[in-house]
Amino acid sequence: MYPIVAKEILSPTITKYEIKAPFIAKKRKAGNFVMLRIVEDGERIPITLVDSDSNAGTITLIVQAIGKTTKLLATKNVGDSILDVVGPLGVPTPIELHGQVVCIGGGVGTAEVYPIARALKDAGNTIFSIVGARSKDLIILEKEMGQISKEIYVTTDDGSYGRKGIVTDPLKDLLDANKDIHAVYAIGPLPMMKAVANLTKTYGTKTLVSLNAIMVDGTGMCGGCRVSIGGKMKFACVDGPEFDAHLVDFDELIMRNRTYVDLEKIADERCKLTPSIVALAGGVK
């Protein structure tokens, strides 16, 4: 059992958790994730390791409640425990000295890019960051990203905060204005990462994305998370989750991720019947 030792609501749907998991805390590197299962008969889902404290033996996760499992997690409080947490999984981000780097987070993807941005900064890179979301209430970690960045840009689809538009708008401006940007890290919804990849390809700028394939075990055992990278089959959980954006077949992954949408809806409907989740579902929409 893995007890929750701290919980903080970052936005109506996004919550930060600190969980006791000493072995994982000791080994976490930027780019790693965990698989977690909250209850018996629950699903195993992948969540990025945002931070860790090896002295306290805790790990930090930031999770958006979008379906059955993530909503169930949102009902858990300090003192409650999570049944299974496995990790750290995935290949850590290679932290190199590129010079100037753009780090882009879309929605809860900001939580996933933040540890990478921090590690890149610690390695001596200059960070420009772009944080985007559908609307103001989904913007997270703006302060934290700002602290490690030379410049930070915020965009919202509906214009409720920052610049109206999508993350590729400020990215284009940055790439036009600054010939010394040698790498781009982008994590967010697949269409966003695809748009970033298409843009940076025209500039020839090295770009890394983290692929949110559907995972079962997270250890290379099922092949469910397979993605096509430069025409070759790779398993996102053990070969990635980060890959060269210019080699990713985004359309294929977008289609694959739709495999269970109807069943996910059934599971989600079901969880609305659970009294403890009703309150939350009311606030979630």
Partner: protein
């Protein structure tokens, strides 16, 4: 050598081989209850009476863990079922599992003397009978460990290889810790082999017995990630390590259409169902989608399990596509037979060439080619050759590939000095020692896909070798002084 059965050999030979009590095929292919209830006491006694009590019990040589088959059958004859169970357990700590899934027909039973002219003694079924008897009558007493050795051994992976190694070492008196990546114990026994062949209560009972030996267990612990092999030695203080991480990484055929929705590796399919209980969705949270028509590719146990599971999940047609002929199928004979009874359609000498999509990126069919058998290849099996122009399309909505597995490379790539073959298996010597001091390995990790009983054999040999190694190894402390 004394005989316990007064019957004459000629009388024994007249007794027919006893069959298990089974659920009828038309019913069982709709549920996940165990197909076979095994032998009841009366049948077990008749079966035991068939054994000739050979002076030279060749059956024992056929068993990879050399169970004293003759003696345990004599004990059954004397109705000393617990004595029989204990006799088996001297050689094999998990009889309820082996009795169910061991390919007896190619091991102990194929060499049985009675089998020369008649049908062999149903050794596997008798093994299962005593194990089940002990469970249903709650008669198991864990062995008392009198010797305690103050040395720690790590076992990585809780499949049959790891579990056996851990049990044997714990019985000798070592402090044993099992590290398992998943949240359930048993390896393939839990995530691969379905409940209708190996009920979960049986598996849980056998796993609990390993814990009762004082073995410490960490689940959710991926060695190579959560801690490295070198950390287990240097920081955790283990003095020897056994690797039994299996061959869990699925391979795909590499034909077009494999990324479509509705295409699964058998591993993913079976893991969703067995480990994650997707067949209970939405009472469980992990989803699975099974089409009205399902094609499973392969001819091994994995393929049989996937195709039989598909029928149970509501498929109206379940095809088994295999590129050689039925004779060459590596699956256990009993499973092939059961699959046939349950209504699986076998498409032999058939090889898939591409998977076809509907408009929504879902599978709608599979294109196959007819094959014919040519000259025998290096393995002695006749090589299938495609017949030109024989392509045809089978409409299916689900494709499951069960075409082979290789070892997961996480440990190999995070540990220096381990000799790995070109197939990704770890190289070991005749006592399961790897190329690194103190690290032993066995099971599918060293063999590629093999069997439960061979994994157990490796675990047992490794346990003996680890005991010898640690007994001879000078104590770290005394060395410093």
């Amino acid at each position: 050598m004394n005989y316990v059965n007064p019957m004459k050999p000629s009388e024994r030979m007249k007794l027919p081989r006893q069959a298990s009590i089974e659920q009828i095929a038309e019913e069982r292919n709709k549920n996940f209850n165990e197909v076979s209830a095994g032998l009841d006491e009366a049948r077990a006694l008749i079966e035991a009476a068939r054994c000739l009590e050979c002076k030279n019990p060749v059956c024992i040589e056929g068993c990879p863990v050399t169970i004293d088959i003759r003696t345990f059958i004599q004990l059954i004859y004397k109705k000393d079922y617990i004595g029989a169970a204990n006799k088996i357990r001297e050689a094999n700590y998990l009889p309820a599992i082996c009795g169910r899934v061991c390919p007896q027909e190619t091991q102990c039973e194929i060499v049985c003397t009675l089998g020369k002219k008649y049908e062999p003694v149903a050794i596997g079924k008798l093994e299962r009978f005593v194990a089940d008897y002990e469970i249903t009558h709650n008669l198991f007493v864990p062995p008392v460990i009198t010797n305690h050795i103050d040395k720690k051994v790590a076992v990585v992976g809780s499949g049959p290889a790891g579990i056996t190694c851990a049990a044997e070492l714990a019985k000798i008196g070592y402090k044993v810790t099992i590290f398992e990546a998943l949240h359930g114990l048993g390896g393939v026994l839990r995530y691969g082999i379905p409940e209708f062949r190996l009920p979960r209560e049986i598996l849980d009972t056998e796993m609990e017995r390993v814990r009762q030996l004082g073995v410490e267990i960490y689940k959710n612990f991926v060695v190579g990630r959560t801690a490295s092999i070198d950390e287990l030695f240097n920081e955790w203080g283990f003095e020897a390590i056994f690797l039994g991480t299996g061959a869990g990484t699925p391979t795909f055929m590499g034909i077009p259409g494999e990324s479509l929705s509705g295409v699964y590796s058998a591993n993913e399919y079976l893991t969703r169902i067995n480990l994650m209980k997707a067949y209970q969705f939405p009472d469980s949270d992990t989803p699975i989608k099974v089409g009205k028509e399902v094609a499973v590719i392969g001819g091994g146990n994995t393929a049989m399990d996937a195709v039989r599971t598909s029928l149970r999940l509501g498929a109206k047609k379940a095809y088994l596509i295999y590129r050689r002929s039925r004779k060459e199928m590596p699956a256990r004979e009993e499973e092939v037979h059961h699959a046939e009874q349950e209504g699986v359609e076998f498409m032999m000498l058939t090889n898939p060439t591409r998977i076809i999509a509907d408009g929504n990126n879902w599978v709608s069919g599979i294109e196959c080619q007819k094959m014919e058998l040519g000259e025998p290849d290096e393995s002695g099996r006749r090589k299938p050759i495609a017949i030109k122009g024989s392509e045809f399309i089978v409409p299916v909505q689900t494709v499951i590939e069960a075409v082979g597995q290789k070892p997961n490379p996480i440990i190999q790539t995070t540990t220096d000095g381990l000799n790995v073959s070109k197939w990704g298996t770890i190289v070991v010597n005749d006592v399961q020692l790897t190329s690194r001091e103190g690290i032993f390995a066995g099971g599918d990790l060293t063999r590629g896909g093999a069997t439960v009983i061979l994994a157990m054999r490796d675990g047992k040999i490794a346990a003996e070798a680890i005991h010898k190694y640690l007994s001879e190894k000078p104590d770290a402390d005394t060395k410093v002084k």
